[in-house]
Amino acid sequence: MSPSPQSPSPLRITMELNGEARAVVVEPRATLLEALRDRCGLHGAAAGCADGSCGSCTVLVGGEPVRACMMLAVQAHGTQVRTVEGLAAGDVLDTLQTAFVKAGAPQCGYCIPGFLMLAEGVLQGGGRLDDAAIDGIVAANECRCGAYGPIRAAIADALAERLGADA
C-alpha cells in the first residue's frame, strides 16, 4: 500500500453538457459518472456494477458512447457530453425513447438510460446496421430484468424509422 499523497488539488473542469456550458470542481480521482450524478444532479446514468461491465453508466462524449465509470471527469474537460436527460425536447420524447416505450423495453428502468445513450451513439453515426451490429448493441449492456428482446426490437424499430426519415 502506498502512503497517502498530500491531498491533490481539486480541478475546475468545463464541458458542454446537454448543449449548455457547465463548470464543475472535482478531485482528480472523480469519475465522469460521479461528476454527472453528484455534481450535476443528473441521475439517469447509473452505477450498476463497480467494474465497468454493465454499461448502465453509458453517456456520449464527443458523440461516442463511453462508460462514464471508466473515464475520469477531468478527461471530459473541453468536451461535449450528452446524457439521457438531454434526449427529450422538453416533454417530447425523441424517436429512440418513443421506440423503447412502444416496445415495452423499460421494466425497472435501471438499464434504460445506458441502452438509450449507447443506441443513440451508434445510430447517430448514420448508415445501416446489420443484424450482427444490432446484436452487438444489445449484448453490450446488462439488463437484469432480461428485457433484451423488447430492447432489441426498439433499437431495430428506431433504426428503421431513422433510415426511413433520411430516405
Binding site: 500500500m1 502506498s2 502512503p3 497517502s4 499523497p5 491531498s7 491533490p8 480541478l11 478531485e27 482528480p28 480521482r29 472523480a30 469519475t31 460521479e34 463497480a50 467494474d51 465497468g52 454499461g55 453509458t58 461516442e64 458512447p65 463511453v66 462508460r67 465509470c69 471508466m70 473515464m71 475520469l72 477531468v74 478527461q75 449507447l118 451513439g121 451508434v122 446484436d135 452487438g136 448493441i137 449484448a139 453490450a140 449492456n141
Partner: protein
C-alpha cells in the same frame, strides 16, 4: 468505491511521460484507455499516488509498417485495429480479434498496448502477440528502449517483465505472408465478454501441407501460450478434420490450467480442446 486519491499528470510528450514514471516509480500508473485501470482503481486493487494520462500524445496514435512488421503505438484503440495499414490475412485476423475484445464503448477507448501492459491471460492481443511472435518495446528514462519477445514479456497472471519505471512504447508484430491461414475462437458467457478460453491458430501452406504452424491458447494457463505438442501434430500435414482433432487433444493433454474462477482443471482442459479445435476449423 471511489479510487484512492492521486495526483493527475498530463505529459505533453513521451519524454515527459517516462520522466514522470522515473520520478514516481511504483507509485505511478499510466492511464491510456483506462478500461482496465479504472475498474482496478475503483476496487482499490490499484492505488497509485500518481496517474499519468497519455491521451494527449497525438503522435502515439498512428500505426506504421516497417520492414515486414506492424508497429502498434500506445494509443491505438481496439476499434482502430479493424482498419490497419496491412493486408490480409493479418488485417482480417486483427479485425476479428478487435470485435471480440469487448463491447463497443470499451473498444473505443481501450488500447492494444494497454492490454499488453495489463497482461491478462484471456486477452486477445496478448494471445496474438505470443502466437505471432510479436516483440514488446519498453521505454524508460533510465534505460532508453529495450525489446522483449512476447513469450518472455508475460510472466504470470497480469504480471509482466516491465519494470515500474517502464511503459509499453510499441508492439511490433511480424506480418503474416499472404498465403497464411488464420483461425480464432473464443468461448465466453457473453458476446465480446471475458474469455473462458481462446484458441488462435496460424499456419502457412506449402503444396497442401501446413508449415510454420502456430497454435495458442488463452484464458486457461497463467499466461497465453503456444502449444508445441499441438503444433507438431499439424506441422507438415494437410490441414483438416482428423488432424485438427488430434491437435486439439494434444493441446488439452499438455496445457497447465489455472483452475481458478470456479472452473476446475478438467473443465478447463475441455475448454482448451474446444477452443483449439474450433480455431483450427476456422482456418479452412
Amino acid at each position: 468505491m471511489p479510487a484512492a486519491p492521486f495526483h493527475y499528470h498530463v505529459p505533453a510528450s513521451m519524454d515527459e511521460a517516462v520522466a514522470l514514471l522515473d520520478r514516481h516509480g511504483h507509485e505511478a500508473r499510466i492511464l491510456a484507455g483506462g478500461q482496465s485501470l479504472m475498474p482496478a482503481m475503483a476496487a482499490r486493487l490499484a492505488t497509485p499516488g500518481h496517474v499519468i494520462d497519455i491521451n494527449r500524445l497525438s503522435r502515439a496514435e498512428r500505426p506504421a509498417v516497417t520492414a515486414g512488421r506492424l508497429r502498434i503505438p500506445p494509443l491505438l484503440r481496439h476499434a482502430d485495429c479493424t482498419r490497419l495499414p496491412v493486408a490480409d490475412p493479418l488485417a482480417g485476423l486483427f479485425a476479428e480479434l478487435a470485435a471480440s475484445v469487448a463491447p463497443l464503448p470499451v473498444r473505443l477507448r481501450g488500447t492494444f498496448c494497454g492490454a499488453i501492459a495489463n497482461g491478462d491471460p484471456a486477452s486477445e492481443w496478448c494471445l496474438a502477440a505470443v502466437v505471432l511472435g510479436a516483440e514488446i518495446v519498453l521505454r524508460s528514462q533510465a534505460r532508453g528502449s529495450r525489446v522483449l519477445p512476447a513469450d518472455r514479456f508475460f510472466q504470470t497472471v497480469q504480471s509482466t517483465a516491465a519494470e515500474d519505471n517502464e511503459l509499453v512504447a510499441e508492439v511490433q508484430v511480424p506480418i503474416l505472408p499472404r498465403s497464411a491461414r488464420t483461425g480464432f475462437h473464443k468461448i465466453a458467457r457473453r458476446t465480446a465478454g471475458y474469455g473462458m478460453a481462446l484458441g488462435l491458430a496460424a499456419y502457412d501452406l506449402e503444396r497442401g501441407a501446413a508449415t510454420d504452424v502456430r497454435i495458442g491458447v488463452g484464458g486457461i494457463c497463467e499466461v497465453p501460450r503456444r502449444i508445441p505438442a499441438a503444433e507438431r501434430v499439424l506441422e507438415g500435414r494437410p490441414p483438416g478434420g482428423h488432424v485438427f482433432r488430434l491437435a486439439a487433444e494434444a493441446a488439452a493433454d499438455t496445457v497447465e490450467p489455472l483452475a481458478t474462477g470456479g472452473e476446475d482443471a478438467a473443465y478447463q482442459r475441455d475448454l482448451a480442446h474446444a477452443a483449439v479445435r474450433r480455431a483450427l476449423e476456422a482456418t479452412l
